[in-house]
Amino acid sequence: MLFLIVQRLFDHVIMNRIKQALQKDKQGKKLLSIYFTAGYPQLDDTKKIIQDLEKSGVDFIEIGLPFSDPLADGPTIQESSTRALKNGMTTNLLFEQLKDIRESVNIPLIMMGYFNPMLQYGVEKFCKKCRETGIDGLIIPDLPVDVYNEQYKSIFEKYGLINVFLITPQTSDERIRFIDSVSNGFIYMVSSASVTGSTKGFGEETKAYFKRIAAMELVNPQIIGFGISDQKTFQDATKFASGAIIGSAFVKHLTVNGSGGTSSFVNSIRPLTGF
């Protein structure tokens, strides 16, 4: 019994890393989440990138578990995944690299990956390992909300993990409400009908979609991803949501600069004094 109470308290602390960060929006700060692929550009860059991102004032970090066939991603993230796998990244190795990450960083960490590697690792074992490592949440694009709700929700909850779902401009209001009801952190709002890495900027249609979702007054805050690549797109997106996610643009930055220069990239998106 006492163990259960302690565990609940522990869960509470863990969940609060994501939820606490989301509170900043209420204080007028727009959240910035950065994605990178673990094992890229160099196999052992994972820890340094995470530490540098935290120092640069980023609010969330999404750690990409590389997959051979990332079908929701564009060429930039796919190439980084292919490279990371060639470098030798595996699920076990990633957990090994992150094993004492909580000694040095306090930032919310979200693992983003495709379902098959997690299935092979064992879903429960994977969730347990995430919790031991100090991972706060997961984004699994090809685990649909329906399947999660029926088969895996209890496992994720047992280990205090927040699972983040995506919505798109084509998602019906009814389904958005359903996703909102299953969610327990934030909703990942895909900016447009596209895979990751598009840099077209936001047109009127996209803005109308942002407004439509904002007007739904969902329980969970929304963070916009896909197509955010610079200060302009970050500012445009966060007018309508709690924050925004940058993936491909940061991976490109890593391609050019290696794991150095993270703070200058983050500053170019959201100058430290700006918000």
């Binding site: 079908l71 699920t91 098959n116 590697p117 092979q120 690792y121 399947v147 995506l166 009908a193």
Partner: protein
């Protein structure tokens, strides 16, 4: 075990443990639009009428069920060949593309995308798009484009745009990834014609139903020839498994009919150069479906190998994964060498040059013996014209 045991998909698209729709949210509206309508559309009288008309007048159905006498004599059993090789475009693939183009029209789509490995499905898709005057984009691995030049030329003649898939291993699975990405980027006006019984529900079931015309005809033709509808065994090669799904369809739930699935062992099952998914695959998710697939311990999808480009898919349709797991299907793997030999043998004995995919199915008779009075139907899924350069190289013709 209850009497309602079925090897067909249930309404959620599961065949036993396999199937379902493991898709990113970006694909949900497209797939859901199709899922919620495909059965109703297929049942419409006008749809059936148009589908059957095109199969008859355009594809050239019914295809003969031919008693291969000399081949039968050699293997001491009664072997019928279901001549899908005589379909327009040279293989069974067109049954599905005719069905799906009519589906796309009814869903109001004006742009078609498809993936292709060897190019057969790409050609079959480009063909029906030309027929209907609909824009067609075919994704094909860069490596496959190089080794399948004649089919690339065919697709171009038919007005399709062939887009090279440059990601990953640049073969069929990557072409499929690219097609899925295209669909994510074009969710409203585009229909994705998947070429096999793979992908998220409802594709495996829908494609199987379009290919089911094969076993439907077998029943009628066998009744005429033998006085009975059911053969003792149905044999088909399995890559993704669409010709097999069509050949088995009406026999799936009849335990008196043996189902034999033939996979490509490549250079040998355990050589690292194989496509024998049932032997080498583990349960996992590929292209939106839970099925058996070849992967590393870490869940990374691996690249299969077979001399036949149509069989080197790292997964297998969920129907077949279930046939394997339940033991309903007998799975046999055939090496490159055995397949090539069987292809040559059919040419010499029957005057039919089969596709190398089909040659795998024909090769089982060397070791798998049947009773003399057994009736064995082999689905002759495609003709060998497309494989001539491989035959030439292999046999120094």
């Amino acid at each position: 075990m209850s009497n309602t045991m079925t090897y067909q998909a249930n309404e959620k698209g599961y065949y036993g443990d396999f199937g379902g729709a493991y898709i990113p949210e970006m694909l949900y509206p497209n797939v859901e639009e199709l899922r919620s309508q495909y059965l109703d559309i297929m049942k419409e009288e006008s749809f059936q009428k148009e589908f059957n008309y095109l199969l008859r007048e355009y594809v050239g159905r019914p295809t003969p069920l031919y008693l291969a006498e000399r081949f039968s004599q050699k293997y001491q059993t009664k072997i019928y060949l279901k001549r899908e090789d005589l379909c327009h475009t040279g293989a069974h693939k067109v049954n599905n593309t005719v069905g799906q183009i009519l589906m796309a029209k009814r869903l109001g789509k004006n742009r078609i995308i498809a993936e292709t490995g060897a190019g057969q499905h790409g050609v079959a898709t480009a063909t029906v798009c030309a027929l209907m005057g609909i824009e067609c984009i075919v994704y094909m691995g860069e490596v496959d484009i190089e080794r399948q030049a004649p089919n690339v030329a065919r697709m171009k003649m038919l007005g399709a745009t062939v887009v090279p898939a440059k990601s990953g291993s640049r073969t069929l699975k990557d072409a499929t990834n690219e097609a899925i990405r295209d669909w994510i980027n074009n969710p409203v006006n585009t229909h994705y014609i998947i070429g096999s019984v793979v992908g998220p529900h409802p594709y495996p079931d829908m494609v199987a139903r379009f290919q089911a015309v094969i076993s439907e005809e077998i029943k009628v033709q066998l009744k005429e020839k033998e006085g009975r509808e059911n053969p003792d065994h149905v044999v088909a090669c399995v890559g993704g498994g669409s010709n097999a799904a069509g050949a088995y369809f009406h026999f799936l739930d009849n335990p008196d009919v043996g189902i034999i699935a033939v996979e490509a062992a490549g250079k040998g099952i355990y050589t690292g150069e194989s496509a024998a998914t049932s032997a080498l695959g583990k349960e996992g998710i590929i292209h939106g479906s839970k099925t058996l697939l070849m992967q590393t311990e870490d869940g990374q999808i691996t690249e299969p190998y077979s001399i036949s480009a149509g069989l080197d898919y790292p997964g297998v349709g969920p129907m077949h994964a279930n046939l394997f797991r339940t033991g309903r299907g007998e799975f046999i793997s055939i090496t490159d060498d055995a397949a090539m030999k069987a292809g040559m043998e059919l040419a010499k004995l029957e005057g039919i040059i089969p596709a190398i995919e089909t040659s795998h199915a024909l090769a089982i008779f060397e070791d798998r013996k049947f009773k003399e009075d057994d009736i064995v139907v082999v689905n002759l899924s495609g003709r060998g014209d497309k494989d001539l350069s491989t035959y030439i190289e292999y046999f120094n013709l």
